[in-house]
């Protein structure tokens, strides 16, 4: 395979790369022109063939998701661009919004056309106020150029796009909580079924896609599904943005093919571990993924299936690197605090369990560890997020995957760094 050339971030270092004239000068909106002459079903087929999997975290195949829409639609369909990027360690969507917003908008247009939607939303994280301003400008440019609005490029296809700012809740990145929030309600995930493809925004069929997923679409249309599938593993191919942060020399977003080795990302792209310390652990897919020890990390490739086999996940590809100076118990408490703060509070296990974990870990860190605490940590995480048995898929005790998102990392911290946790239990306690 020849050296990989960035696709999504190809132009981000150039001046004015966020403007419409620039984007058009590098072939922007040609995919849209092509799509507008196609049958929507054919667009869906191309995306299905490309094996494009959602880049938001769950990795669900985008084309298949679109295929869940009811065939004989009476109600309007909505497209929501999920730009509520709030997974700790993840900052790829912000880059795409800032530097390649028209690429994302073109992707939205393609998706909207494919699912026959005439009103789309960009649900953007509340803290991204600058990015929201960028998007407003981008939309006005697009409206002025007849890329949005009525009769787009003379194709009789209409689409309006609305930017909706969130209010700073992590849970609103979950698609049904996002829809609730968009409807003006409290951002609590909905019970499924029904899934949004059948009953989403205002009980109408709705598709929610991530910024990066949508940004891939113009390239798939222009270069074909074959090309896309040739990048990285067959089952989840394509270019991928990796966010590397933590104890590395040059943290940042790096575009590499799906399935790039974690070792390369940490040591080449991100310039290796800070202060020449030793790698200790890596969270490969944001704080919701199970942690990997250094030994595991250096052997793994970053794609959906390899990481699933290693009992963790690609998630949002927010790679958080920890070196040997990191105290794993305190890191674990940090993550637990985040989830306790962000739990929406509707399901009992998540609402009560997350804070229980925080209280317990805080007590341990403050020197109050008790015999049996470690066993309790295992049990509480199991009770929140279910028995982690990937082979049977028997996890999940809450309405949304937030429960698992707490349970996986915390349980893995305890499991893989148990000795550090044991150190927090005073000697007399362990004897007693």
């Amino acid at each position: 395979m020849s050296a990989f050339k960035p696709v999504l971030t190809q132009h981000i270092y150039q001046q004015d790369c966020h403007t419409l004239p620039f984007y058009q000068s590098v072939g922007g909106y040609t995919a849209l022109e092509k799509v507008l002459t196609m049958d929507p079903e054919d667009v869906i087929d191309v995306v299905k063939n490309s094996n494009l999997r959602g880049r938001g975290g769950a990795g669900f195949p985008a084309g298949i998701k679109w295929g869940f829409l009811p065939k004989d639609m009476v109600k309007p369909t909505y497209l929501i661009n999920n730009a509520d990027e709030s997974e700790p360690g993840t900052f790829k969507d912000r880059l795409l919004i800032n530097k390649a917003p028209h690429q994302m908008l073109e992707g939205m247009l393609i998706a909207a056309y494919a699912i026959r939607c005439n009103l789309a939303f960009i649900y953007i994280r509340g803290e991204f106020y600058k990015e929201a301003e960028v998007l407003e400008k981008v939309l006005s440019e697009a409206y002025a150029a007849n890329l949005l609005g009525k009769n787009i490029l003379g194709s009789k296809y209409d689409l309006d796009v609305i930017v909706h700012r969130g209010a700073g809740a992590y849970i609103c990145g979950e698609e049904t909580a996002l829809i609730e929030s968009l409807e003006g309600k409290r951002g609590c995930p909905r019970l499924k079924p029904p899934f949004p493809a059948l009953e989403g925004y205002l009980k109408c069929p709705t598709i929610v896609n991530n910024v990066e997923t949508l940004s891939n679409l113009p390239h798939i249309i222009n270069r074909g599904a074959e090309w896309f599938r040739s990048i990285g593993p067959e089952k989840g191919p394509g270019p991928k943005l990796y966010c590397v942060s933590g104890c590395v020399n040059s943290p940042g977003v790096f575009e590499e093919p799906m399935g790039t080795s974690l070792k390369k990302l940490i040591y080449e792209n991100a310039g290796g571990i800070k202060n020449d310390n030793q790698l200790k652990a890596v969270l490969p897919g944001g704080s919701s993924s199970a942690i990997l020890t250094a030994e595991e990390a250096v052997t793994l490739n970053m794609d959906f299936d390899s990481l699933m086999d290693a009992k963790t996940m690609l998630g949002s590809a927010g790679i958080i690197v920890m070196d040997d100076t990191v105290n794993m118990v305190q890191a674990c408490l940090n993550i637990a605090r985040f989830y306790a703060h962000e739990s929406c509070g509707q399901c009992t296990p998540c609402r009560e369990g997350t804070t229980w974990l925080v209280k317990m870990l805080t007590r341990m860190v403050q020197g109050g560890g008790k015999a049996g605490d470690i066993k309790m940590l295992y049990e509480i995480t199991d009770n929140i997020g279910g028995l982690i048995d990937f082979s049977k898929g028997s996890f999940g005790k809450t309405i949304c995957p937030f429960g698992e998102a707490v349970a996986w990392p915390i349980r893995s911290f305890v499991e893989k760094f148990e000795s550090e946790f044991i150190n927090y239990i005073p000697q007399q306690e362990t004897v007693a």
């Binding site: 019970l191 009992t348 296990p349 997350t354 229980w356």
Partner: protein, 528 residues
């Protein structure tokens, strides 16, 4: 129809039923908190998780719909779904959820009003752990008033959100919401919009734990001390079914009783707190006869005889005034006794209120207008002019027990009568004008049937004993009638009166108290 198996029970259920509904309807208990039959399913308490064969993880039974499986995919060749509610995994999961719910619970059952009828208590006893593993400090939060009658004990709240959904879906008033997020969530109100609506009391009833409480009842008694009598609310003609809770002749509270043909699961606050009106009334306890400006006490035999004499002497010029507040039986017997015109005083009307869910407070704030019209046959339309036209000289009044402003025509009539006989339990304005006052029974003491405005006859049952020398109203009327007419029938009980009533008014034939039971009988389209 899907054929399913839950534990060892097999049955058919309608398509689209949830597993929880099917189980509850077939006598299988699945513990649950957030599910309520008339509220939107939210599936948040996670208490009702069960194992459904073929599904990898536990399912919330409140949100698992039962459908038909294709014939080649039936389990064991015949079942559309097989559910287990008693496996070790399910039992363990219930323990886990209860552990979470009890983490910050104060365990103050000894001083909690819900104790004895608390689902947290019951389920913990039945499904939970005996010991807590929680070693941290419990969260303590102050109780708050949500409205003038409802207080929330935040420490006991399990955030099932039934109350929030109630104000959204049933009362449509939207006062309650969940404030803050996660661990800090709490049921709350906006400062300027407290929980003040006429259905507010219901939130305390649907609260499965001791979080929401009626200030009217708080710390007054324990659930197990109270006698429960199923009866009917008497504050409007909707006739909501209620349970009356009393101890030693004192009513402590009213709660709605489920009846899908009348009130569903709810009642309004007018009825809920209405019983207090009768606590401090000036009761009439003995028969009274006028002596100048005051009354003399007489005994019953004398009072009955005097009444009969007055009616007899008037030579058919006595009119009867029936009451929509009295039972069918009392009104019917007055009709039997009076050999002249019958009528009623001006009706008591208020605003009709209908809530989004369909719950209704009738404009007619008397409980038995329909019944009274049914069994009095031809009430005078304009009683006051009829009285003048027919030169009526005496009135026998079944008193409503409710004081009201009467117009001048009525005042003149009452002032100019030769005699007024008032059968009442209270010293009302009418009683004060009477020549003879015959002490009847107050609401919650009286028994009989009443007919609501949807033509449903219901059994009004007493919860309080008869005070002093008062007698049941139907008995007084029977005694007077017997004194007037030696051939008149002697009724031994209410059922006798109802049979007699049925002979005269076919719509009421074949009815007995036993048949009315707790749910009542619809008179239109009556099936016996």
């Amino acid at each position: 129809m899907p054929f399913i198996k839950i534990d060892e029970k097999e049955f058919e259920v309608a398509k689209g039923t949830t597993v929880l509904q099917a189980a509850l309807a077939n006598g299988i208990e699945i513990p649950h908190y957030c599910y309520h039959p008339v509220l939107e399913v939210v599936g948040s308490c996670r208490m009702c998780l069960v194992q459904v064969e073929g599904m990898p993880k536990l399912q919330a039974s409140c949100n698992t719909l039962i459908g038909e499986a294709p014939s080649n995919k039936k389990l064991d060749g015949k079942y559309d779904m097989v559910v287990n509610t008693q496996t070790d995994v399910v039992k363990q999961e219930r323990k886990n959820i209860l552990e979470f719910l009890l983490l910050n619970h104060p365990l103050d059952c000894p001083v909690c009003d819900q104790a004895g009828e608390c689902y947290l208590q019951d389920y913990t006893f039945k499904y939970g752990n005996a010991h807590s593993r929680f070693k941290e400090e419990k969260r303590v939060r102050p109780s708050e008033f949500l409205g003038s009658n409802i207080v929330i004990n935040q420490d006991r709240c399990i955030l099932c959100s039934r109350c929030v959904r109630f104000t959204r879906e049933i009362s449509g008033t939207n006062e309650l919401f969940v404030q803050n997020r996660g661990y800090h969530s709490k049921v709350s109100i906006l400062e300027d919009k407290p929980l003040e609506n006429l259905m507010a009391g219901n939130v305390a009833d649907i609260c499965p734990v001791g979080a929401l409480l009626n200030t009217d009842y708080i710390h007054k008694n324990r659930f197990w001390n109270l006698d429960t009598i199923p009866s009917v609310c008497q504050d409007c003609s909707a006739g909501c079914n209620v349970d009356v809770f009393s101890q030693r002749d004192e009513i402590f509270r009213l709660t709605p009783r489920e009846n899908h043909d009348v009130n569903g699961y709810f009642m309004c606050d007018i009825g809920r707190y209405g019983f207090h009106r009768f606590e401090e009334i000036e009761r009439v306890n003995q028969p009274l006869v006028r002596n100048g400006k005051s009354f003399d006490v007489i005994d019953w035999a004398e009072a009955i005889q005097k009444t009969a004499d007055l009616i007899e002497q008037s030579n058919g010029k006595t009119a009867g005034i029936v009451s929509p507040f009295h039972t069918n039986e009392s009104n019917f017997l007055l009709g039997l006794m009076i050999n002249g015109i019958l009528g009623m005083l001006p009706a008591i009307q208020a605003e009709e209120i209908t809530y989004p869910y369909g719950f209704r407070i009738s404009a007619d704030r008397s409980p038995n207008q329909r019944g009274m019209n049914d069994i009095c046959g031809g009430l005078a339309k304009d009683l006051s002019s009829e009285i003048k036209k027919q030169a009526i000289r005496g009135l026998y009044i079944l008193d409503d027990g409710v004081d009201r402003e009467l117009d001048d025509a009525w005042k003149e009539i009452l002032a100019n009568m030769d005699f007024l006989i008032v059968q009442s339990y209270a010293m009302t304005d009418l009683s004060k004008l009477a020549h003879i006052v015959l002490p009847g029974l107050a609401p919650y003491e009286r028994e009989g049937t009443i007919t609501n405005d949807q033509d449903r006859i219901q059994w009004l049952r007493p919860s309080l004993s008869i005070k002093a020398e008062s007698k049941p109203d139907w008995e007084i009327l029977m005694l007077v009638n017997n004194a007037l007419n030696k051939k008149a029938e002697n009724f031994t009980g209410l059922d006798d009166v109802i049979i007699k009533m049925g002979e005269q008014f076919p719509n009421y034939s074949g009815i007995t108290l036993f048949k009315i039971a707790t749910q009542g009988i619809a008179l239109n389209g009556k099936k016996m």
